[in-house]
Amino acid sequence: MRKKLMAVSATAAVSALMLAGCAAPAAEEGSGELVFDVPDVPMLEELGEPEGQVDIIAWSGFVEPAWADTFTEETGCVVNRRVAGTSDEMVQLMRTGDYDLVSASGDASLRLIVGGDVAPINRDLLPNFGDDIVPGMQGQIYDTINGNVYGVPIGRGANILQYNSEVVTETPTSWDIVWEADSPYAGQVTAYDAPIYIADAAVYLMYHQPELGIQNPYALDETQLAAAVDLLKQQNEIVAEYWSDPVAQITSFVGGTTVAGTSWEILRKLAADDRMQGTLPQEGSTGWADAWMISSESDAPTCAYLWMDYTSSPEVNGAIAMNFGMAPANGAFCELSDEAAAHCEEFNALNEEYFEQVWYWTTPIEQCIDGRTDVKCTSFQDWTNAWATIKG
């Protein structure tokens, strides 16, 4: 998903974009009872001498000279950045063992943990990973697996309902204008072009069809997936176009082809068009959250820990969040300056009520992550196949 953002300024990345449907993290309920078969990887007990360099796989905009150079001056660790385009690429690169750190999104993080590619994190070595980290970004799946912490939160965002206020004159309170066949904006709706968007249908069904028993939009059994697919097929009739490229989404709204649909706060801002408004309707929404993870084969663990701690400070974490266009993980950033406060306000950084309605992207797997054990849930492969049938 990040890679899409970089494409905002560089359309060339297009071919990779469609793959980006898979991004960010975990169910927000304390999934304490979830037990995964996780390889036993030891955590670092204490910091040693900085090793001189650290190799980081990151989304575009997470590792920039503006703050990496200062880090090198302070610690002597030279930062080698490798920008990845998709979560799949990140997982592949991490499995080579050549990298120390990764800025993992939700679908990558579970795979990395279960694959034994990343090590648990010793919070005692990260003074900045403390109470300033907003509550909504603690206690996620990667925080709680088998009692270990695997990720240091970086930032998060929600998938909002964007609308053209010239056409949609009243603030929508429900997603129904993009789902129901009798929508007044039929034929002018946009939807996200990736299998993970099935979760958005599930979020809508959770609210409007409670009898389906969906507890978590990323844990759908076959019946629930079929219901979501039916809803998406119904939506297909009123969709003007699906978007996966940020530039395409912006031109779709600004060019008048679509007047309502799913979006990100940063895209609304980039559209630089006063008619475009965003809201988080009553049903809630999906969203994403990213975290640093350390390789189980890291040859520079000290530099890696120093980097994770450095980027968790209010200043640096905020700089990353502002550069990327998301809500920072470190809430203390919001008190640093008027500019910071404005950014936090715009991206709802401290608004937990807001993010309580957001289901962070997670890879659907056969094990139901809502805790059900009597059924098998549908995997991301099932979702991918289902997605192809929706667009027929």
Binding site: A12, M18, L19, G21, N236, E241, T257, T384, T389
Partner: protein, 299 residues
């Protein structure tokens, strides 16, 4: 000459050792000529294709998305049993055929005009105009079409006074955009073929009383047929494999074969591989049919 060929001519061998060696060993000459293209063809092209196709018989770990070698026909069963996949395949085939026909319909009159009627100066201008789009980036051209056909875009603005509204983003727009992209590959062979038709054939046809259209039908088209088929191989197969156009100007219902392959390639490579057999089959059938007409010999 004879000196170079003789093994007992040390002076000549010293002066041109490489030529002598190549002259003596026929297989070395062949190896020198063919090793590079063959390495390319076999090593990079065929092997990678085979590796991809073999994956179609493999399994996938649903959690890690790692492929597991084995043997299953389930991926093919899925591709051929799911109605949506079949619809998508037929839609893609229809789009590719429409693009080919449209390109041919534009290329023939343009070619006749350029080759037989236009002044040399105008001919040069038109030749540049046809090839110029090839110089622009593929994505740039698609985005240009996107801007043209967007709701408040150029097309609707231009046509608004006549009460006409454009196709928006739809299958029709996909066909138009693909035609725009691949037209030069049709126009150039057709133009070249028409230039090679002797002018006196037109005169003879006219002398025998044929009007313009009859001349085109009975004289030009039969001579043009191989060039048309050669051009159509490009327009057809390039359209068949495209998915970026469908994504940018296709709207909600223009999913193509490439779209499905692209969405599966990372998460479920075996299904992507199984599905990639369909366009290959289409192209092979098309080439076999085309070959029977002898068009490939003229390329």
């Amino acid at each position: 000459m004879t000196v170079t060929a003789s093994p007992s001519a040390p002076r000549a061998a010293q002066s041109k050792p490489l030529s002598t060696l190549l002259y003596r060993h026929r297989w070395l000459r062949l190896a020198g000529l063919l090793s590079l293209p063959l390495t390319w063809l076999v090593g990079l092209y065929i092997v990678s294709l085979v590796l991809l196709l073999v994956t179609a018989f493999w399994f996938i770990d649903p959690f890690t998305s790692k492929v597991i070698p084995g043997f299953t026909l389930e991926n093919f069963a899925l591709v051929f049993s799911e109605p949506a996949y079949i619809t998508t395949s037929l839609r893609t085939l229809g789009i590719a055929l429409a693009v080919t026909l449209l390109s041919a319909a534009f290329a023939i009159p343009l070619g006749i005009f350029m080759a037989k009627l236009a002044s040399p100066w105008l001919r040069a201008v038109l030749a540049v105009a046809i090839t110029l789009p090839l110089w622009a980036g593929y994505l740039v051209k698609i985005l240009a079409m996107r801007i043209t056909f967007t709701e408040e875009g150029f097309f609707n603005w231009l046509m608004a006074p006549f009460g006409i509204s454009g196709p928006g983003f739809s299958i029709l727009t996909v066909v138009l955009t693909l035609t725009y992209l691949w037209f030069p590959y049709m126009a150039l062979p057709v133009y070249t073929a028409i230039r090679q038709i002797p002018v006196n054939l037109f005169d003879a046809s006219a002398d025998l009383g044929a009007r313009g259209f009859t001349t085109i039908r009975t004289v030009v088209l039969p001579l043009l047929w191989p060039a048309l088929l050669a051009g159509s191989v490009f327009t057809f197969s390039l359209s068949l494999g495209d998915y970026i156009v469908a994504r940018f100007v296709g709207g909600a219902n223009a999913q193509m074969i490439g779209s499905i392959i692209a969405s599966n390639i990372n998460l479920n490579p075996p299904v992507a591989a199984a599905f990639s057999v369909i366009p290959i089959a289409f192209v092979v059938i098309y080439l076999v049919v085309t070959r029977r007409t002898g068009a490939l010999e003229r390329m």
